[in-house]
Amino acid sequence: MRTLDALITDSPVFADLEHHELELIAGCAKNVGFEAGDRLFREGDPADTFFLVRHGLVALEQYVPNRGVLTVDTAGPGEIVGWSWLVPPHRWQLSARAVEQTRAVEFDGACLRDKCAADTDLGYRLLTRISSELVSVLTAARLQLADVYGNGDH
C-alpha cells in the first residue's frame, strides 16, 4: 500500500521533490472518497482545501443564469482540483462534484500555506511547480474559449 507522501508524487506539482519535503506536505493531506454526485466544494464557499484525484472523475461546474449548471472542466487521476486556496479571498470560484466514485488526496491549504511560509525554499519550489500547472490550465482554457470546433473551422 502506498503512503500519502508516495501517492502525491502522481501529480507533477509534487513529483521529484525531496523525500523530507514530501513528508512535510503529506502532513497536510489525507485520503478521502466520494460517491457519484457528491459535492467536493461549492462556488462562493471558503476555499481551505484542494484535491489530487487518484481514481475517478471530478467535474468543475459553474451556474450560468438561464442556462443552468455547466461543466467547464473535469479532472481525472493525477490531476489537481482547486486553486482558490492559494490566493485571497480564498473562496471557490467554481463548484466541484464527483461524476463517478472518486478517491482523492485532500490537502489542507492553510496548513500548506503555513509550511511554505516557514520554509521559503520549499514554498518557492512548490509555487514554481504550481505556476507551471496553472499555465497549462490557462492555455487549455484559452483554447477552449477559442471554440475551435465551431462551424467552418474544419
Partner: protein
C-alpha cells in the same frame, strides 16, 4: 480526371449537420482508397469538394464519406438520398504512416470533424491488431451532441485492446464524461512516447497544441503526423488552389510529418 458515377446506397446522420454516405459504383470504380486519402465528390451541376475516406479500407469497392454541411456542395451532398448518383474522382493524396507505425503504439488525436479521416487508420489497426502496440484514441468535440460516430466510439472504448478517451469543450449536467480540450488527455495517455506514432486531425490550432503536447511528452517530431485541409479544386497538383508555401496539399499531402508542415503554419500570410 473524369468523375465516375457512384450511387448513394446508405445515409446516416452523425450530428445535426453531418452525414455519412455509403457510395457504390454504378459502373467502373475508382482504385481502392487507402487510409488518409481523399476523393473529389461531384454534386452534378453544383460543384466538387475534397472529402476524406471515413470507411474501412478492408471493404473493397464501397466508398464511405462523412460530410459536414458547410457550403453549397456539402449541403447538397448531405441532402442526397439513397438512389441518388454523384460523381467521384480519385483516390488522391498520400496515406497515414501505418507501415512506420507497425510494432509501435498508435496515438490518434481527433478534434471535431477530424475523426472521420482518422477512422480508416483506426479500422486498419483494429483489423491487424497483433501488428501494433497500444492503440490510443483521444477525441475532442465542441459538445456531446456534436461528436460523430458516438456508438462506434463507445464500442471501441469497451474493447480491452484500445484506450479511448472522449472530451468536450462544454457540457450540461447530464454529461458523465470528460470536459476540457483534447490536448489535456495527452500527458496521461497510455503510450510509450519513444516508440509510438501519432496521427492528428482537427482545426489547425488544435493540431498545433496537440503536436506541441506530444513533443513535450517526449515523442520525436518525426513520429508526429497531421492531415491538412485547404480548398482543393483539381486534386492532382495542377491548379494551385491548395498551395501552402512550397507544397501542394492535394499532391504532397494531405498527410504531413509535423516538422515538414509546422513552419508553414506559423506564416500568417500563407
Amino acid at each position: 480526371m473524369t468523375p465516375l458515377a457512384y450511387r448513394v446506397e446508405r445515409k446516416r446522420r452523425e450530428t445535426a449537420g453531418t452525414w455519412t454516405l455509403d457510395l457504390e459504383p454504378v459502373g467502373e470504380a475508382i482504385d481502392p482508397i487507402r487510409p488518409g486519402q481523399f476523393t473529389m465528390l461531384y454534386l452534378f451541376g453544383v460543384g466538387e469538394v475534397p472529402i476524406s475516406s471515413s470507411g474501412d479500407p478492408a471493404l473493397d469497392g464501397r466508398l464511405v464519406h462523412t460530410i459536414r454541411a458547410a457550403g453549397a456542395v456539402t449541403r447538397g451532398l448531405c441532402a442526397a438520398n439513397p438512389g441518388d448518383v454523384v460523381g467521384v474522382r480519385g483516390p488522391f493524396g498520400n496515406t497515414w504512416p501505418l507501415e512506420l507505425a507497425r510494432g509501435k503504439d498508435v496515438v490518434v488525436v481527433a478534434g471535431g470533424i477530424g475523426l472521420p479521416p482518422l477512422r480508416p487508420a483506426i479500422y486498419h489497426v483494429l483489423g491487424n491488431r497483433e501488428e501494433y502496440g497500444n492503440l490510443v484514441l483521444l477525441y475532442g468535440g465542441r459538445s456531446p451532441t456534436e461528436l460523430v460516430f458516438r456508438q462506434e466510439v463507445e464500442r471501441w472504448r469497451a474493447r480491452l485492446d484500445a484506450s479511448v478517451e472522449v472530451t468536450v469543450d462544454t457540457a450540461g449536467h447530464d454529461w458523465r464524461g470528460r470536459v476540457g480540450v483534447v490536448t489535456k488527455l495527452i500527458p496521461r495517455a497510455p503510450f510509450d512516447p519513444g516508440n509510438a506514432v501519432a496521427m492528428i486531425v482537427g482545426p489547425e490550432i488544435m493540431m498545433r497544441f496537440a503536436a506541441q503536447t506530444l513533443l513535450e511528452r517526449g515523442m520525436p517530431v518525426e513520429s508526429v503526423f497531421v492531415s491538412m485541409e485547404r480548398t482543393m479544386r483539381c486534386g492532382v497538383g495542377l491548379c494551385g488552389h491548395c498551395q501552402l508555401g512550397p507544397t501542394l496539399i492535394c499532391r504532397d499531402g494531405p498527410v504531413y510529418r509535423w516538422d515538414e508542415i509546422a513552419p508553414l503554419l506559423e506564416v500568417q500570410e500563407l
